[in-house]
Amino acid sequence: MDLERATTQATLIGQDFLTWLWATSEQHRGRFTTASGEDFSLFVEQRVSVQGGEGEGKETAVCSGPMAELKEARMGLRTGKKVGQAKLRIEHDENAWQVQINADTFALSGLKTPKVDTHVEEGDDPDAIFLEKIFLIEKCMLYLDTVFSIFIKLRMSSQWNSEIERIRQWMNAA
């Protein structure tokens, strides 16, 4: 396998994915379902960076704000830019996660899980806090993997052209 090629293609796939995810989560009101039938919602919010061009001509526009409509980033998409980084909010029942994901590597930063009770009483399993935290982290990974799996199957299928059309309409309407 050509590792240099894998790095270039990772950026391409990651940017297509996050651009698709922004459009799809807005159009589906954030609703997604895991393979085992668990419903969750996922939104792009508060912070998005869009990128276009290559090498020294590369341009990045970052939009952020607690209730921002991310208008400049949406405009960027209409000029051919793609999402390079996005902040996601995931909800399932009463639980909420926040995470920033990078298109190039899928590096996750600022990952906030639902709060874990760190109060320990005598007789409690000393690993209980760790096990609850990792359970919540893995839940977040499951939701991210679910949306990526939906995307990559569409991306590699003949349905991708109709997805492009749908995303184009969303871009122009947004």
Binding site: Q9, L77, I152
Partner: protein
């Protein structure tokens, strides 16, 4: 960075090979073999190795063993002595002035390039011995069911260090779960060429 803190950074890896069954019994010994060694009392520039997940000062796992449920947990500790460029510049200048004065008494007017290099190295060593190393640690969680590893960092330098030390310790190779490798894992090896030749989508 601590994975248990309120906000954390994460990089996910997949283990390339099947993990040999006998390795599970050797985990503790292998971690100890590549455990962190303290450099507080030396002049070493940096030291790195594994420590206990629950206590970064514990390189003998007396606080808690690495096993937590189906997970193996430990941390990568990295201590680095950083010398401020301004401090180094000042002390190199002082040392060179001092050396020059000594040599002028013997009739020599200039320091040679080799002498300057030697002075700089000596000064660096002297300052390093007086500087305390800055400690840092990065949690590692190995899900032994899925053979997925979580590392509590997204910094390239730390990722590289971790990758090398993990392979050296366990004889296993790691594949970062980038969009490319995540796609390959989902679709299977027979779609490798399709992924390698995929063209970017033009949405506009």
């Amino acid at each position: 960075m601590a994975i248990l803190s309120a906000s954390t950074s994460l990089t996910r890896y997949h283990i390339v090979e099947d993990v040999p069954q006998e390795l599970w019994a050797e985990v503790n010994d292998r971690l100890r073999k590549f455990a962190f060694r303290d450099i507080d009392d030396t002049a070493d520039e940096r030291s790195f190795g594994w420590v206990c997940f629950d206590n970064m000062l514990d390189a003998k796992w007396t606080t808690a063993p690495p096993e937590k449920g189906v997970y193996l947990t430990f941390s990568l500790r990295l201590d680095t002595r950083r010398i401020s460029a301004a401090v180094l510049k000042k002390h190199v200048q002082l040392a060179m002035d001092h050396q020059l004065r000594l040599m002028q008494d013997q009739g020599q007017k200039f320091l040679t390039r080799d002498q300057k290099t030697e002075i700089k190295e000596q000064v660096k060593l002297r300052i390093r011995a007086r500087t305390l190393p800055v400690p840092a640690y990065f949690n590692v969680i190995w899900d032994t069911d899925k053979n997925i590893i979580y590392l509590g960092s997204t910094t390239d330098k730390i990722l590289e260090l971790f990758n090398e030390l993990f392979t050296k310790t366990f004889g296993l190779n790691l594949e970062p779960q980038t969009p490319f490798f995540s796609a390959l894992n989902l679709l299977g090896e027979d779609r490798l060429q399709d992924l390698e030749t995929l063209e970017p989508t033009i949405f506009v």
